[in-house]
């Protein structure tokens, strides 16, 4: 599969919303409108640097239906592989970028009777668009938003104004934590919970919901794991007959793309399963970092998700 064409955009505005978060408005370079999307969608921003290309997923935050521009927010990561620092340091108003079409892997359930939204830090971004969808729907919801300290609470003015009592704020600096157990043991039938934030928060919410008897179809989470760094390794692509060297801070998918081989992807964060790849030969071990494959599939050593997973091996041959 070849990738759908990207869309050329220009940075129309940049706002520093917290000490760590910058907000970008992206307008189509050709004018006109951008593709429609629903709340929870993300785009992949293609960042072309001198020595390598980054493709990072970011949730769309603007109101679905407003298509003259898209809005995304980028948190500056302490240990960035380059993408968030590029967005923070090198992208200016007027910079040109390419983006992939929006994809929604974190959609609101359309027949839910109630929604409970839980965000940690930058995890607020997909909810900013979902909340706009919820304003138009006649379904009760609650927004629980946890941040380190008041100065890190991005978009609080807007949220406070639009959400009123439906917004519940929690500040780590004041020792406030979301009472997940209380929250998830008291919800009416037909409630759906959505969580986006740090890995630990997602694990805690999912585990608490399951312990409270929630069925998986009512639990939704989104986490774009940045591809973890690791040791360099080599991989041979059987169908392309190419040997590819993977650098410590480069993902397997990025290395394969840099070698000129297209792998289908949507999320680049180990969630969607699109880059599912078969292992032909392996002498060593795979380091699975995705949330897509089952434990059995991971243990089989027959598959991996190159967007986030790596290998520690003498020999790895992939069906690409």
């Amino acid at each position: 599969m070849t990738q759908a064409a990207t869309i050329a955009v220009e940075v129309a505005a940049i706002e520093q919303v917290t000490p760590l978060i910058k907000h970008f408005t992206l307008a189509p370079l050709a004018g006109g409108t951008l593709p429609a999307f629903s709340g929870g969608s993300h785009i992949v921003v293609v960042m072309k640097r001198a020595d390598r290309v980054h493709r990072n997923p970011y949730s769309l935050m603007s109101r679905p239906g407003r298509l003259d521009s898209y809005e995304i927010s980028v948190r500056r990561m302490e240990t960035s592989r380059g993408g968030s620092h590029f967005m923070h340091d090198e992208v200016k108003v007027g910079s040109r970028l390419e983006i992939a079409h929006p994809v929604n892997l974190f959609a609101l359930d359309k027949i839910a009777r109630k929604h409970v939204l839980i965000a940690g830090g930058i995890g607020i971004t997909p909810f900013m668009a979902q909340l706009q969808d919820l304003h138009a729907a006649n379904v009760p919801y609650e927004m629980h938003y946890s941040v380190r300290a008041p100065e890190h609470a991005a978009f609080l003015d807007r949220l406070g104004e639009e959400e009123g009592e439906r917004l519940h704020m929690y500040y780590d600096s004041r020792g406030e934590v979301i009472d997940c157990e209380g929250l998830l043991t008291s919800q009416p039938l037909g409630t759906h919970v959505y969580v986006c934030g740090p890995a630990g928060m997602i694990e805690h919410v999912v585990a608490t919901a399951r312990a409270a008897g929630w069925a998986d179809s009512h639990i939704h989470w989104e986490q774009f794991s940045a591809p973890p760094v690791g040791d360099a390794f080599e991989v041979f692509l059987a169908r392309s007959k190419l040997k590819v060297h993977v650098l410590p801070d480069q993902s397997l998918l990025e290395s394969i793309e840099a070698a000129g081989v297209d792998v289908p992807y949507l999320c680049r964060g180990g969630v969607c399963g699109f880059c599912f790849t078969k292992v032909v030969e392996l002498d060593g071990e795979l380091i699975h970092n995705d949330h897509f494959l089952s434990a059995d599939e991971k243990n089989s050593g027959k598959y991996l998700m190159p967007c986030v997973s790596r290998a520690r091996c003498r020999n790895l041959v992939l069906d690409l």
């Binding site: 043991t185 008291s186 009416p188 039938l189 037909g190 409630t191 008897g213 179809s217």
Partner: protein, 203 residues
């Protein structure tokens, strides 16, 4: 003549306890009492504390007296017996309005009973992974007339006459969860009066 191989035809499985649930709500009709008894036994063995969060709603077959009620009561405090399916369903609906997330629904009985119970569960956004159903007893179908939109109960034959418009309908395997009924399509639309042999197929 009976149109088969249609994917919407529901498939049922033997009822098993779902220990991942926190509350267990069980509905039974007639011989559907047997699978419920089995699930209660299973819960008693695996997670006895779950029995305190279990409710059973049961209606015996019309005119029959069976011992299920007493046997349920031996394990569960909240057992409710009803004189008819409509009364049971009204109570079921009222219970769902106050039920919490973590509830698992178990339904056992004839397919028509499962269908109407599921339709109510659907209104409360209960999903497949929260509902288990075992079909037992009569295979008689609820048939929805696609011409006049009336529903005919207790259909046992391949061709049934609509209770409202009197058309003869072919009973298809095409099932609607929303109507909790199989679709009935006029059998002699091409040549009025020309009908295939009428046989009992849903005993």
């Amino acid at each position: 003549m009976l149109v088969t191989g249609i994917k919407s035809k529901p498939i049922y499985a033997p009822l098993l306890a779902d220990a991942a649930g926190r509350y267990h709500l069980m509905l039974g009709h007639g011989v559907g009492g047997a699978p419920l008894e089995r699930v209660l036994e299973e819960l008693a063995a695996s997670t006895p504390q779950a029995l305190a969060r279990t409710r059973v709603l049961y209606v015996a077959d019309a005119g029959s007296v069976d011992g299920y009620g007493a046997r349920f009561s031996a394990r569960v405090r909240d057992v409710r017996q009803f004189g008819g399916v409509p009364e049971l369903l009204a109570d079921f609906r009222a219970l769902l309005t106050t039920s919490l997330m973590g509830t698992r629904l178990y339904v056992a009985g004839p397919e028509s009973f499962i269908g109407v119970a599921m339709r109510i569960a659907l209104e409360f956004n209960l999903n497949k992974d929260e509902i288990r159903a075992e079909e037992c007893g009569s295979l008689a179908r609820r048939v929805y007339c696609i011409h006049c939109r009336a529903t005919t109960e207790n259909v046992r034959t391949n061709i049934a006459q609509c209770v409202a418009c009197r058309r003869h309908l072919i009973v298809r395997d095409h099932y609607s969860r929303r109507f909790a009924a199989y679709m009935g399509v006029m059998a002699d639309a091409e040549v009025p009066g020309e009908l295939p042999p009428i046989k009992e197929v849903f005993a």
